[in-house]
Amino acid sequence: MNSGAEQKFPEHFFRGLDNTFLKGQLILGGSSGLFGFETAVSAWTEDLDFYVDEELVVSRGAEIVRLLGQMGYGRFTNSPTFSAPGLPTFDLVGYSTTNTSDHLSLPGPLQVMVFGDLGLILARPGSVAGAATGRTTLSPAGFVAVKLTTIRVEKGSKDKIQALLVIAERAGDSAFRETLRDILKAFDDDTRADALSDAQMAFLALRDDPTFQNHGAAKYIALVEQVESGFQALRDMLGEFPDA
């Protein structure tokens, strides 16, 4: 696959969903959420995530699989992962507006992992963009909130560093800050403190991980300074919350 093919894929994919029941129902998210808005931050991924409402999976799972099949996307056995020759692989990831625990959707023609935090974030105004056109993606603030609250023992640092870099890019944008603050209000004090602490721990990855150091010394220093600036902005934002 050519470099950058995954960046062009969402538009191609969304166009295919026009005039179908899935138009506007799938939200470009995960690291591939970075393909949905202007940013210099690298996605460091070649596959994509689309968020889907658990209710839709339960009620129309077979139709989703059938439609995607008609569009040329085959499903990896027993998984919510799809691909077509020459195109990036993508996963369907569940969210729920009624059940905020992590769980599997009911077994059926399509089963997805449902992440509780996603439902909290996606229910907040400003967390997604492009819904009117059917090209629904995470907004920058929605992306940052998802990455800050994602819990992954492996690769967790990548999530936090991406979030801090996007914050650094947009720290001067008051609408972004306001929206992010509002989204994070969906979480309790402890969760917000954990998000800040996890972001702080991600600096250890900058010390250890050749993925980041391979950019060359000058570029690497600039990246680290951006991460520092993003952390400072996040700390200031979270510090504006009233005491519990």
Binding site: N78, S79, H103, I151, L196, Q213, E228, F231, G239
Partner: protein, 208 residues
């Protein structure tokens, strides 16, 4: 190749998804434990979580020397050029080291030639990839040096230059993470002695 699932109504086997769900639940458990351990730090957690870490190796070009003279001799010969940090600074300022390595950690002005270090006859520069040096305690003592255009805030203490106590807190966070086992001696032997201000001494302990 993925199966082509057009028209398939066959229910999924749940095993791979169950495995995914179990892994996610395990990650949540680990995160919960980590969260509780942080809170066990009490007010120190709230104070230190607000400090922006500084990553020693990310502030410039990293280089290392294997030493063939005693540490005291190295420190003496590099007295005019080295700005000590991490365990070297905490040892000088507070009498404790945290990491298991006995290395010397120091910044140097980027304009200083590596030859100048060689000329001080402290040892031999290490070739090759250096990152593993940071992660593995070695028997020998190394000089771990960062040559930087922007030197960190520093001051003179006991005849040597070290990063300031405030900046040292940032460096410890960037190198060892948020851990009570360095924060406790740091508070007792450095913060209280040097009355560190910005970042450490004045950091709020209020809840987020």
């Amino acid at each position: 190749m993925p199966e082509h699932s057009e028209g398939s109504e066959k229910p999924l086997q749940s095993d791979p998804m169950q495995r995914l769900a179990r892994r996610i639940a395990r990650d949540r458990t680990i995160a919960r434990r980590r969260s509780l351990a942080r809170r066990a730090m009490g007010p120190l957690f709230w104070k230190y979580v607000q400090i922006v870490p500084s990553v020693f190796t990310a502030r410039g070009e990293f280089a290392a020397w294997e030493l063939n003279v005693p540490v005291a001799t190295v420190l003496d010969r590099l007295r005019d050029s080295a700005i000590l940090t991490l365990d070297s600074a905490s040892e000088l300022l507070g009498g404790f080291r945290f990491g298991s390595g006995r290395h010397i950690y120091a910044y140097f002005d980027a304009r200083l030639s590596r030859d100048a270090i060689d000329d001080s006859k402290i040892g031999r520069q290490v070739e090759g990839r250096l990152t593993p040096l940071l992660l593995t305690a070695r028997n020998e003592t190394l000089l771990l040096a960062v040559f930087s255009d922007k030197l960190p805030p520093n001051h003179s203490h006991a005849g040597h230059r070290t990063v300031t106590p405030d900046h040292l807190a940032r460096e410890f966070l960037g190198y060892y993470g948020l851990r009570i086992d360095w924060i406790a001696p740091f508070e007792k032997q450095i913060v209280s002695v040097f009355k560190a201000t910005s970042g450490v001494g004045q950091a709020s302990s209020s809840r987020l």
